[in-house]
Amino acid sequence: MSRRARITVFAFAAAGLAALLVASVVDLPAFGHYQGAYGNQLNREAVAERHTTNVVTAVVFDYRGFDTLGEEFILFASVVGVTLLLRRHKDSEDEESVLRKAPDDHTRSDAVHVGGLLVPPALFLLGLWLVAFGLVTPGGGFQGGVLLAGSLFVVFLAAGFRPYHHLTPTPWLDFAEGMGAAAYTLLGVGALLAGASFLHNFMGPGLRGTLESGGSLPLLNWATAVAVTAAMLLLFSEFLESYVVPSTRPLR
């Protein structure tokens, strides 16, 4: 099909789709007037039940914790997929030769060096805070984990590939990614051993509005943070390595 024909077909299809979508959204409750029974009930009861003041985190790691288990394995599967696609070109190459072949990207600007010293620790600390207090104030394992990974990625931006590569050894990332996902699952099994259903919050609710609140929720939160940090760093590393050491060999 020629490009012009494709755009013509698309124009008709999109006009039909637009009409259907608009017709369906105008029947939604008017903006600002939604009364979700489930959400309202959680807003009323989650704090009293779990003692965590962030209800979104309570939904993610407790009330709908099983969905988050699935989400975590989606992330895991994606990292495995990217790794399988990109890493197989490097079978014959060991770490040493990757580092030897990498181009010289050492930064020589003092301003970038100073920034590289200041920004990553600040971002890392902010990431830890977001994870730790994710059940009290805005934050959580996913958000904090992305920030933790981002703080290490700034090292690449400020100092180049080799320091970043030394800071994030792939075997450790593989281990952390697996352990994060495993810890989440094992906490679910822990609930089974305690006589409750899978992933049930089997520990006491603790002190309201503190880091001790939520029972097993903060543990699931930290397991997720570790898995997300490792997953993001693994994705960065795989793309970076195939960028600095491009393989010209086509796949079969």
Binding site: I7, Y34, N54, V55, L85, P138, F142, P250
Partner: protein, 114 residues
């Protein structure tokens, strides 16, 4: 005006779809897909919004205050994670395609495979 956020979501979805249908570069296509997915964030958050509602975080705010729906916010979080994983996979596949075909233009790739 009360349907404006929903219309924004529809617009983002269609504009992303247009980008995908006319894309000449797989990386551009992946970005268009994230635009499409952001329409679902807008839709979910717009549905859960309540007038004069605060965030569903009751730290320093008494329980029972008017707050927006926490369930759609958790769903949006899931949505973002899925978006990241999908974009990661598409970009890895794009690298793979570029290695084989030496191009990222979907039309040229289709032409190569006959």
């Amino acid at each position: 005006m009360s349907y404006l956020p929903y219309i924004v979501a529809v617009w983002l979805f269609l504009v992303g779809l247009y980008g995908i249908a006319t894309s000449r570069n797989l990386i551009h296509l992946a970005v268009c897909l994230t635009v499409m997915q952001s329409s679902t964030y807008v839709l979910l958050l717009a549905i859960g919004y309540k007038h004069r509602g605060t965030a569903p975080i009751f730290y320093g705010v008494p329980v029972g205050s008017r707050a927006v729906d926490p369930v759609v916010q958790a769903l949006t979080l899931t949505d973002i994670v899925v978006s990241v994983t999908v974009v990661g996979l598409i970009l890895a596949l794009a690298l793979d395609v570029h290695r084989r075909a030496k191009t990222l233009d979907p039309d040229e790739i289709a032409a190569l495979e006959g």
